[in-house]
């Protein structure tokens, strides 16, 4: 059957993404969903225009890909430039300052996603009045909760400012180390509030957990599917957001590869180009394009790790894994729960680091033998982030390759959209329920389309159902 016999539904997220992402659904002649696609419609060209720039500029330049989690790009690039300057064995003070920055950022980014963007869905329901489905609406009905979200994000942003110099697009990490340590005054400023942050994080885990359990019949199938999972993992199998080897597992939890030195990532991961999206489609080489795709991010990290090295988050991880008898959890909406477990983990880690006197150390930078190529990975809030550079003898970048977290989740997001379309699109009528639910499925991945395009959580949608003659059968707008 040619595509000409298919009906086409366009779901165009307009405001929240300003048209940078949109969904199309193709129906066959029986009005069954044949195909659904999430198109990423923005292109920047970083890989090319970064060529010729001095390498020391890269950590402050590439973070401008994304203002939502710039620290991830800042640190991934700095880790790569450590290798370029022969300083990858950074000092304890440098590593701990960077880690503190990274946990501060994971904390604020996850909190932003959960409280500001997703909590209206969980608190008000998928079918609630769109007019109240925002943080102001949450503030009106649940003022304490909204204030908690705002203050938690503020805490993370202040940590970033203290470690990177600025809340957004800082300069703290430099090739071979960092440019400042943490003063006693700065430390004490954070220590007075950190226990409250941990307490509120426990509360946030509970909201996500209770939501999942109370709605389990819907949640377990909603936009859900089995997949492989990928993340960095510490040598002892612990979750580590800053550094580790690559581990991939299949939907049953069997290792595909483990503790892979990420400098060899090209042997394991490749990205397919498709004509209908500026975002590429990564997959595991040994499995192939059809079944080799994988999820990344909080759900994948909880699934791949053997344990979490902070006690409160580890307790929550165990409870989460018990739900699926220790097997990988493949429930799309479970991203929220795992994201909040990571918020708790980040808060615990920040406390641990703040109490570490190494943060007041004065040994900030190391350099060694100059190198011409470097690969560095980090676990960004939304998942594994790959940076790969070549630098010539004039210190100029000659090659840059970036696989951003949201790109790694490209196929999973498309699969979730397809699943929701199949389950909730019936006949030629576009229902309000379908619009809401497609939004909810995409949002579970916290797609930072800023890195591939730029978008935040919620997307008012325009759906047009067009038959194969181009006649509009139905049109609906959700505002």
């Amino acid at each position: 059957m040619s595509d000409n016999n298919l009906k086409r539904v366009v779901i165009e997220p307009v405001t929240r993404v300003e048209g940078h992402g949109k969904v199309t659904v193709l129906l066959d002649e029986n009005n069954k969903v044949k195909q659904a696609r999430l198109h990423i419609v923005e292109f920047r060209g970083f890989e090319r225009f970064i060529q010729g720039r001095p390498f020391w500029e890269v950590p402050v330049l590439v973070q401008r890909l994304c203002g939502i989690c710039p620290v991830s790009h800042h640190l991934a690039a700095a880790k790569a430039m450590d290798i370029i300057v022969g300083g990858e064995n950074i000092t304890p003070t440098a590593e701990k300052m960077r880690r503190l920055m990274h946990y501060g950022q994971t904390f604020q980014s996850h909190v932003l996603h959960f409280f500001h963007l997703s909590s209206p869905d969980l608190l008000f329901g998928f079918d609630a009045d769109p007019a109240i489905r925002n943080i102001i609406g949450v503030a009106a009905k649940y003022p304490d909760l909204a204030v908690q979200g705002v203050m938690m994000r503020k805490f993370g942003q202040e940590i970033i400012k203290a470690t990177a110099g600025k809340k957004i697009h800082g300069t703290g990490a430099i090739p071979g180390g960092v440019n400042k340590n943490l003063s006693i005054e700065e430390r004490d400023f954070f220590l007075k509030d950190i226990d409250k942050m941990i307490e509120w994080s426990i509360g946030a885990v509970k909201i996500a957990k209770d939501y999942t359990m109370e709605n389990f019949d819907m949640v377990k199938t909603f936009g859900s599917f089995e997949s492989n999972h990928l993340s960095l993992i510490r040598e002892d199998g612990a979750m580590d957001l800053y550094h580790g080897g690559l581990r991939a597992i299949d939907a049953q939890g069997k290792n595909i590869f483990d503790h892979v030195d990420y400098k060899n990532y090209q042997d394991y991961i490749t990205e397919e180009v498709r004509s209908w999206s500026y975002m590429k489609f990564p997959f595991i080489k040994s499995i192939g394009t059809e079944n080799g795709w994988y999820r990344v991010g909080p759900l994948a990290r909880i699934n791949t790790c053997d344990f979490i090295d902070t006690p409160l988050a580890e307790k929550e991880r165990k409870e989460f894994m018990a739900l699926t008898d220790g097997k990988p959890n493949n429930i799309t909406l479970a991203y929220h729960w795992t994201r909040m477990i990571e918020v708790l983990h980040s808060a615990e880690k920040m406390k641990e680091l703040l109490n570490d006197p190494d943060l007041q150390g004065k040994d900030l930078v190391v350099t060694g033998e100059r190198r011409g190529e470097a690969v560095a990975l980090i676990e960004a809030p939304r998942g594994t982030l790959f940076h790969h550079y070549k630098v010539d003898e004039n210190d100029q970048v000659t090659m840059a390759n970036l696989i951003v977290s949201t790109t790694n989740n490209n196929v999973p997001m498309n699969t979730a959209v397809t699943k929701v379309a199949v389950d909730y699109l019936s006949g030629v009528e576009i229902t309000e329920g379908l619009l809401n639910r497609i939004e909810v499925a995409i949002r579970a991945y916290d797609p930072c389309l800023s890195c591939a395009t730029h978008a935040m959580g919620k997307m008012p949608l325009v759906v047009t159902l067009v038959d194969h003659n181009g006649t509009v059968i139905d049109k609906k707008t959700k505002e």
């Binding site: 419609v41 970064i50 401008r64 705002v150 498709r274 935040m456």
Partner: protein, 181 residues
Amino acid sequence: MEKPKLATTSLAGCFGCHMSFLDIDERILKLVELVQFDKSPIDDIKEFTGQCLVGLVEGGCANEENVHVLQKFRKNCDILISVGDCAINGGIPAMRNDLSIKECFEEAYLNGPSVYNPSGVLPDDKELPLLLDKVYPCHEVVKIDYHLPGCPPSADTLWEALVALLTNKPLELPYELIKYD
């Protein structure tokens, strides 16, 4: 009296200016006493519901869609503000202005070390908006009333500017709030 309306958008930017706006933190609860949010990525309003007093624009124009959105903002906002380096100068995305789109595409989709592209396909689907030859600052596309520099402008800069405009005070910001970084 009905509150004045505020609209915001992100064109070819990184959303950092919007994040900086959210860095006003708890002051957002005070802001909603002064203003009603209209079309913005931080709420669910898709189209302008009426004339807005202030429009904040982040990012320059990199594709045809950015231009359409910017023109719509000019039409619907009494005061239009370029926020941040990308809106004002094109910013980092404008680093592609000395290169051809072809070169950028080849690097991203053909030559990159992790690319799998046996058929040499490039993203060219009709669903994808056309890229402009260059990335343009907003004031080269429509008239802009104010420029707030920074990458991003600080939360205090955005707060002070908005409060002045919304309370009909002169917009006079100290140097510390309008320097680049």
